[in-house]
Symmetry: C2
Subunit: 501 residues, 2 copies
C-alpha cells in the first residue's frame, strides 16, 4: 500500500526542534507526500483498477459524537463509496467488507487498495470505502481552509471521532441495504490499520472482525524501543549491501564536512542539484533520511527500491572517480529519477492531507521515533518528548496528549489484555517494514492472530501484480481464509440463536 504515514511521521520526528519551529512559523507543512508518486517511477507494472462499479455517496456526519453542546451538532459531508456488484443481498447474510480510510483521500485508497475487490466475488461481499474526516473531500466547516485553520477547528480531528464516524456510516449502510445481520469486516492499513483493530475492539457490535495491516499500534509511549524504526531501516540496507550501508553511515560526517567549508552549502546544493539554495545542511540530511526510510518502508518488487539505491551508491562509473557525497546523490536519483533539480522539501509539501496529519501527530498520535543507538546508520538524535510537546504547543497553542492513545485504546500489554478479551483480529506485518517494530507480531489467542512475512508496509492489502512473490500470494490467501472462518462461525451462531435476517 502506499500511505503517506511513515514519511509524515519521519519528518515530524526526525528534525531538530529549532528547525521544526522555524518551519512552523513560516507556515510550511513539514509532512510528506504519498510515496505513490514515487512508486510510479520505479514500478511501472501495477494493476489497473476498474472503478466503474463504484458509487460515491455523502453522509451527513455529526461533527462531535462525544459532547452534546450546540456546536457538536454541526454536521459535515463525509464521502464514501460502495461497490455492490458482488453482493449476494440482504437475505444471504454475506459480508460487508469495509475499508476504513486513513490519512489520505478516498481516491488514493480506491486506486491503491485491492484487497476488497480481489475478495469481493469469493465472499459475495458488499464493498464499502470510507474517507477519514479532514482528508480528501471530507472536510468539516465547509472548506479545507476553515477546517485546517487552527486548534479550534482541527480539534475535532482524532481517532475516536473517526471511529464514531465509521460506526455511523456502517449502521447507515446496513439500514440502506436492509441487512441487519450481514457481518462487517473492517480493513485498514498503517494508521488505518490501527483504526481497524481499534474499531473491532470498541465496536464489536458493528464489526465482526478486523484486518489490521502494518498497524504500529504498540509504538506509543515506552512500549517499544524508540530507535526501532531506524533500526529496521538500517537493517534492510545492511542486508541489501554492507558496502552501501557503510557508505551511508559515513556520509553524514562527510556532508557536515562539505557544509562547513567556505561556500559549503552552495557546494552541497550543487552536488544535490537542489531547486532552492540550502539554509542548513539539515535540509539535505532530513531529505536523505526520508529517502532511505521511504525506500525501506515501500521496498518491494519488481524493482526493490533499496536495491536500486544501493546499486547506484555502490557503482563505480567508468573513467570517473566519485566521492561519498556523489554516491549518496546517485542513490537519490535511483529512487526519485532524473530531474532537472531536487526539492529537498518534496516530502513535506503543505498539502491539505499533510497539514491534517501534522495536527494528528502533534495532538494524539505521538509516536516517539528517534535515533538513540549507534547501531543505526543515522546520526544519534534521541526523541525528546519535552521538546516535542513544547514545539507542538507553541505551534498550535495546545499541547499534545501523549498518554491519550494508551489510555483509550491501550493494548500495550497486548498479550496480557487480549489473551482473554476480544476476538477476530488479524495483525499483519512485513518484518522489513520499519513500522513492524510497533506491530503485534505474535498470536495472542485462537482468533487474535499475527501474520508475519518478509514484506514491507501494507503490501497485503495493496494492488496485486503478476510478479507478486509466492509468500505474498499465500499471505493474502491465509488472511481471507481466516476471515472466512470468522464469517462461518458467525453464521452458525445466527442459526444456533435462531436469529433471522
Amino acid at each position: 500500500m502506499s500511505l503517506p504515514f511513515t514519511i509524515l511521521l519521519l519528518l515530524i520526528f526526525s528534525t531538530s526542534p529549532s528547525y521544526f519551529i522555524s518551519l512552523a512559523h513560516s507556515k510550511i507543512a513539514r509532512l510528506g507526500i504519498s510515496p505513490r508518486t514515487l512508486k510510479n517511477a520505479p514500478d511501472g507494472s501495477i494493476q489497473k483498477v476498474d472503478e466503474s462499479d463504484l458509487k460515491i455517496f455523502y453522509f451527513n456526519q455529526t461533527l462531535d459524537h462525544f459532547t452534546f453542546t450546540p456546536n457538536s451538532y454541526m454536521t459535515f459531508q463525509q464521502r464514501y463509496a460502495i461497490d455492490s456488484k458482488y453482493w449476494a443481498g440482504a437475505k444471504a447474510n454475506t459480508p460487508i467488507l469495509a475499508f476504513l480510510g486513513e490519512e489520505s483521500s478516498l481516491d488514493s485508497d480506491l486506486s491503491g487498495i485491492s484487497f476488497l475487490r480481489d475478495n469481493g466475488p469469493r465472499l459475495k461481499a458488499l464493498l464499502v470505502y470510507i474517507e477519514h474526516r479532514y482528508y480528501g473531500k471530507t472536510m468539516p466547516f465547509g472548506s479545507a481552509e476553515e477546517a485546517l485553520k487552527n486548534a479550534s477547528t482541527l480539534g475535532y480531528l482524532n481517532a475516536a471521532q473517526a471511529l464514531a464516524d465509521y460506526a455511523a456510516i456502517l449502521l447507515h449502510v446496513k439500514e440502506k441495504y436492509s441487512t441487519k445481520h450481514s457481518p462487517i469486516i473492517v480493513i485498514g492499513g498503517s494508521y488505518g490499520g490501527m483504526l481497524a483493530a481499534w474499531f473491532r475492539l470498541k465496536y464489536p457490535h458493528i464489526a465482526l472482525g478486523a484486518l489490521a495491516s502494518s498497524a504500529p499500534l504498540l509504538y506509543f509511549e515506552d512500549t517499544r524501543p524508540k530507535f526501532g524504526y531506524y533500526y529496521i531501516v538500517t537493517k534492510v540496507f545492511k542486508e541489501t549491501s554492507e558496502r552501501c550501508y557503510n557508505t551511508i553511515r559515513k556520509s553524514w560526517k562527510e556532508i557536515d564536512r562539505v557544509a562547513a567549508k567556505p561556500n559549503g552549502l552552495l557546494i552541497l546544493g550543487k552536488k544535490f542539484k537542489t531547486c532552492a539554495p540550502l539554509n542548513t545542511n539539515s535540509n539535505i540530511k532530513d531529505f536523505l533520511d526520508s529517502v532511505y526510510a521511504e525506500a525501506v518502508q515501500y521496498n518491494r518488487g519488481p524493482s526493490y527500491w533499496v536495491t536500486s539505491i544501493c546499486n547506484a551508491i555502490n557503482t563505480n562509473p567508468p573513467n570517473r572517480k566519485i566521492d561519498i557525497v556523489d554516491r549518496i546523490f546517485a542513490g537519490v536519483v535511483a529512487l526519485i529519477g532524473n530531474r532537472t533539480c531536487y526539492d529537498t522539501n518534496m516530502f513535506a509539501q503543505p498539502t491539505n492531507n499533510n497539514i491534517a496529519w501534522r495536527w494528528q501527530s502533534c495532538s494524539e498520535i505521538v509516536m516517539p521515533v528517534g535515533y538513540d543507538k549507534e547501531d543505526t546508520m543515522f546520526p544519534i538524535e534521541p526523541f525528546n518528548m519535552t521538546s516535542f510537546i513544547n514545539d507542538c504547543e507553541s505551534y498550535y497553542g495546545v499541547p499534545p496528549r501523549p498518554h491519550w492513545i494508551t489510555s483509550y485504546f491501550g493494548i500495550q500489554d497486548v498479550k496480557l489484555i487480549l489473551r482473554r478479551f476480544g476476538s477476530n483480529i488479524i495483525f499483519s506485518n512485513g518484518l522489513s517494514d520499519p513500522y513492524s517494530v510497533g506491530g503485534v507480531l505474535e498470536d495472542i489467542s485462537d482468533t487474535v492472530v499475527a501474520i508475519k512475512t518478509n514484506g514491507s508496509h501494507c503490501q497485503d492489502i495493496g494492488l496485486k501484480s503478476k510478479e507478486d512473490p509466492e509468500w505474498l500470494v499465500m499471505q493474502r490467501e491465509k488472511e481471507i481464509k481466516i476471515i472466512d472462518s470468522w464469517i462461518s462461525t458467525y453464521q452458525k451462531d445466527l442459526r444456533d440463536l435462531n436469529i433471522s435476517i
Copy 2:
C-alpha cells in the same frame, strides 16, 4: 442500593408533553429525589458505615477527552475516595475494587454501598470510589450554577466522557500506588452498573472485570418492550395482593371522576392532604405512579414496601367506611409516613443531581418507558419518541441522540455479540426490580454471566443487614467467588507471561 435512577426516569417519561413543557418553562426540575430519604422511614435497621479509613482526593480532570480544541483542555476537580486499610500493597498484585459513581454524590455512595468494604479484607483490596462528573462536588465550570446552566455547559455530561474520567483516575491511582499490574474490578449499580459493564468493554486494559448490578443496558430503542418496566411494577403488586392490585387499577378512573366534579381538584387535594393546591389531576396521578414504582424498585426486607402499601390499601378500618381514593391515600401514608401535608412534587425536586440527570435523560440515556398494554395496572399512555424529542429539544435547544447509546455501546444483540467477544462481566438482577426488564438475564459465555435473584434494585451491592435473606447472602458470595476466579486466572497469566510487577 438506593439510587434516584428510576424515579428520575419515571418522572421524565410518564407525564404528558404539555405538563413537561410547562414545568420546563417554569424551570422546575421534574426529577426525583433519592429513595433513601424514604427508606429511612420504613427500614430503620440499616448497617452503620465507618468512614474513618477513607481519604478524599481531588483529581485535575480534563473537561473533554474526545476533542482537542482549546476549550477541551479546561479542567475540573473530580472527587474520589480511597480506603487502603485492607490493601496488601503493590508487590502482592492484589486487586483494586473501584466503585464507578452514578448520578448521585460520592457521599451517598459511600454511605449506601458496602460491597467493596465487605469484600476488601478477603481480597486484600484497595478500595476506590469515584464521583461522576456533574454530581456531588464534582462540578466543571467552577460551580453547579454554571455547570448546569444550559446545553453549552451540560454538553460535556455524558457516559463516554464519564468513562474516560474513570480511566484517567484509575491510571492515576495505579501510578500513585506504584502498582502496574494490580487487577482492577469495577463495580456499579443501575446507571452506574451500565457504566461498569461498558467500562470493562471499552477499557479492558484498565479493568479486568465488572460487576454490573441492576444495569438496564438493554432498555434502549426497541430492544425490550417499552411497557416492561410497568409490567413488573404491576406484577409485584398483583403477586403481593390481588385485591390491592385491583384497587389501584380501578383508582385512576375514580380519581378522574372526583377531579371532574365541581371543585373536584380541591376535594382531591384535601383527600391527599397536598401541601399546595392541585393544578391538574395529573399531579396526583404522577405522584402515585412514583410511589408505586419506588415501592417496587426498592421493595425489600425487613419491611417490604409493597406489602406495607397493600396492607394499608386493603385494611378496613373499624367503624369507618372508606372509598377507593381514601384507600389509595392510606397506601401513600404507609410508604411516606404520617405528614402534615404531602408534596406531590417530592420526587421531582430541582436538586443539582436531578437537574444533571434530567439532562442525561434528555440527551443520550433515552430509555423508552411507557404503558402500552392493558395488562399493567396503570392507564394506557405509550411512550412517544417524537414528543419526547420535541420536548427535550424545546427545553435545551438541542435534540436528544436516542441512537447514540446503541451505536457506541450497542450490545443489544448481546447473545450474538458477546458470545465470542469480551469476558469477565457479571450482570446481576433482581427479577422483582422493574429495570430487570432491561438487564442481561442469561449467561452469555463462561465469563460473561448473569445472576438472577428474586430481589429488587441493586440489593447485592448495598448495605448488609443481619436480616438479609439467605438468597442475598448467597448471591453476594457467588459474586465474589466469580471475581476471585478472574483474579486468580489473571495472576496465573502474569506468571505464565513472566510479567513482573
